[in-house]
Amino acid sequence: MSELEGMTAKQKLAYYQEKMYQDALDGKAKGELVCWSSSIAPCEFCEVMGIHMIYPENHAAAVGAKHGALAMIELAERRGYSLDICSYARINLAYMDLLVEEAKTGVTPKELEECPGPRIPLPDVIITCNNICNTLLKWYENLAVELNIPYIIIDVPYVHHWPIPEYTKEYIADQFEYAIKQLEDLCGKPFDRQKFIEVQEQCQRSVNAWDRAMGMACTVPSPLNGFDMFNFMALIVCARAKYAAEDTFNTLADELEAKAARGEDAFKGGEKFRIAWEGIACWPYLSHTYKSLKSLGCNMVGSTYPGAWSIHYTVGNMKEMGAGYCKMYSNTCLDHKVDVISDVLTSTSSTGITYHLNRSCKLMSFLNVETAEIVKERTGVPYVSFDGDQTDPRNFSPAQFDTRVQALAEIMEQNKK
């Protein structure tokens, strides 16, 4: 691990991410198994089995951030996928088609060659968990049918009334056992329960380090800006079960603590307002949205992202682990969603919030009006809403975004007085 010595958190992030993609490609070439997984599905089981993990949402976000989304989206549309479908799904399903074509013909299609995102191998198994949305169930169902491979579903039923009922936890725990059985059948070897304990322990250490680093956004002024958080998120998604995540986030937390101790903030003293961002980033416009906010002195410190991967449970307790994967605010009722967002605003001392009305994401859009109103009533924090899409570049208007956040900055300025 000597090559990691002295690396900054950012360097570690890049190093580990690249390594995971490369390991998966090399592994696939050697006949090892690869799994595609939704971003908050339990990673513990595949890790125990030594399966390489690829996260299509991460991958699609990377393709989007590197401006490769449109080419994939057009392919998906040609295949018959409506432009109303989540753009992550469209990118991934098109990418899968290209990989299949390559595997069949031995020729790399032009679009695949030119795709700016990292190369990923085809999966041998897929796992999804609908704690983010039910769109994932349909998306992965299509992958399973097209590729004719085992499909592991962790169904965490929508919590229409908080808290999570015991019977829901029992149902999820039983599905964990079924997932283990599916993996045993696929791998032709028994599931190592001792290793499972170790992997769960690693996940808890990674999540603690993640909490520690993300918690620094609560410091006023904040040494962390939320756009870095968007970037670091990739690793809590793909490396929760590995030392890589623990290592990187502890390094990040050390750096941020040192920065805070020196009294520095993320904008070199320019943090004028602290705001929260509700929803997914607009990856193709990451730089635009960042600069637009920065020019107004708005540091985005509040987000529901940190909480989404803050999955704590007692190691060895399947029901608790089930609850951990069920509690995401996206999977819970309006009341709980409001609680979560209000807590984010309070804990990060945010005085404004932007709601991303995401054309791709019905679940993270259709309760925005109600959420925004109740949160405002409860916390007094003003909000604005803008239209966007996490990866389809056609659904975002830079001018509208700028106008909306300017309006927010004006209200925050007034509220200061």
Partner: protein
């Protein structure tokens, strides 16, 4: 008027004016009405409570105005209408409303009900092959039962639910039989009439619907079969409304010989199995459901199911009725399309929009589609 004509006229009247139909049913039975949003719900529990379950599947609503505040334009067309009607107070006479959560849109709809009556939201499990999924669903149905008891001020016994299951199973069987028979009488049961019969189910006491359907089926069976010179199609999707669309099919001599619409055949596809514990019986019905975009299926059996239907009914084509902005259906389409192309099954996708103001484009597309045959 012949008996057949009378029954059809009644069904059409019910389907065209649900408000009146519900009022009539209530006047006759003294029952309170409980709303049931798409797509599936344990209506038998409502029926067992002595109430009239009423389907709420939106309606042709050209102007969405009030709902705009609460639902972005990219929510499905049917929920746009429902939201508009919630805000207009259309559902305020209901004693309660049941909302399932099989798609992201419905999860949200259950949380943002704007009507006056209580909303009872519940979830179907999606890892459907597991016994633990049934156990989970029984617990959800217990909550539904309890909430209905509170809303209606009654006690719902197991015995009453078992009896309601019998009524519903009988209705499902009668409707399935009718659909089989109707396929042989396209001259009598045209697309508009067929839909009216299926839609009337949502506003009539199921026992009354069963009686009418059985009579209609018997009358049909007594009639001579005539050769059909037009085309035969299968409809698949969420709904095939409004009637203007079906009128176009009729105009071009296209008969609907079978369907896989959520509003129609999917409602009667699977009976509630035998058993002692009624809520477990209802849970197992969901486990046994197949061929639906909202019931997760690792093999997507909807695809071979539709291909088989084409063969069984000698259909000339499949029309994919794509509800505008319905993503579960949008995901199934490309795979089904590829399979149909591979099998050389003619197919056409039509966008279903309750907010449509003109049907000219659909008419042109249907016309050129028929000409291609």
């Amino acid at each position: 008027m012949s008996k057949v004509e009378t029954i059809l006229a009644n069904m059409k009247a019910v389907a065209a004016n649900p408000k009146q139909a519900i009022a009539d049913a209530q006047a006759k039975t003294g029952k309170a009405a409980v709303g049931v949003l798409p797509v599936y719900a344990p209506e038998e529990i409502v029926y067992a409570a002595g109430a009239l379950p009423v389907g709420c599947w939106g309606k042709a609503t050209k102007n969405i105005s009030k709902a705009r505040t609460y639902l972005p334009a990219f929510a499905c067309s049917i929920m746009q209408s429902i939201m508009e009607m919630e805000l207009e107070g259309v559902y305020d006479d209901l004693k309660a409303v049941l909302v399932s959560s099989p798609c992201d849109t419905l999860k949200c709809m259950g949380q943002k009900w704007k009507g006056k009556c209580p909303v009872i939201q519940f979830v179907h499990p999606q890892n459907r092959n597991l016994e633990s999924a049934n156990v989970f669903l029984v617990e959800e149905y217990k909550l539904v039962r309890k909430a209905l008891e509170e809303a209606l001020g009654v006690t719902i016994t197991d015995e009453a639910i078992n009896k309601a299951i019998d009524v519903y199973n009988e209705n499902r069987q009668a409707v399935r039989k009718f659909l089989e028979v109707a396929a042989d009488y396209p001259q009598v049961i045209d697309p508009v009439a067929r839909h009216a019969i299926m839609k009337a189910r949502f506003f009539m006491d199921k026992a009354d619907h069963t009686a009418a359907i059985k009579e209609l089926t018997a009358e049909l069976e007594a009639m001579p079969k005539e050769a059909w010179k037009g085309k035969k199609v299968i409809l698949t999707g969420i709904t095939a409304e409004p009637d203007e669309f079906l009128e176009i099919l009729k105009e071009f001599d296209i008969a609907v010989v079978a369907d896989d619409l959520a509003q129609e055949s999917r409602q009667v596809r699977v009976d509630v199995p035998e058993g002692d514990e009624p809520l477990m019986r209802l849970a197992k019905q969901w486990q046994n459901m197949y061929g639906c975009s909202l019931a997760t299926d690792r093999d997507k059996d909807r695809i071979p199911m539709i291909c088989d239907m084409v063969e069984k009914y000698g259909a000339d084509a499949v029309i994919y009725c794509q509800m505008k902005f319905c993503d579960p259906e949008e995901f199934d389409y490309p795979l089904l399309y590829s399979k149909m192309e591979e099998k050389e099954i003619r197919n056409l996708m039509i966008e279903i929009d309750q907010q449509a103001s003109s049907f000219e484009q659909i008419r042109t597309r249907i016309q050129s589609f028929v000409e291609m045959f």
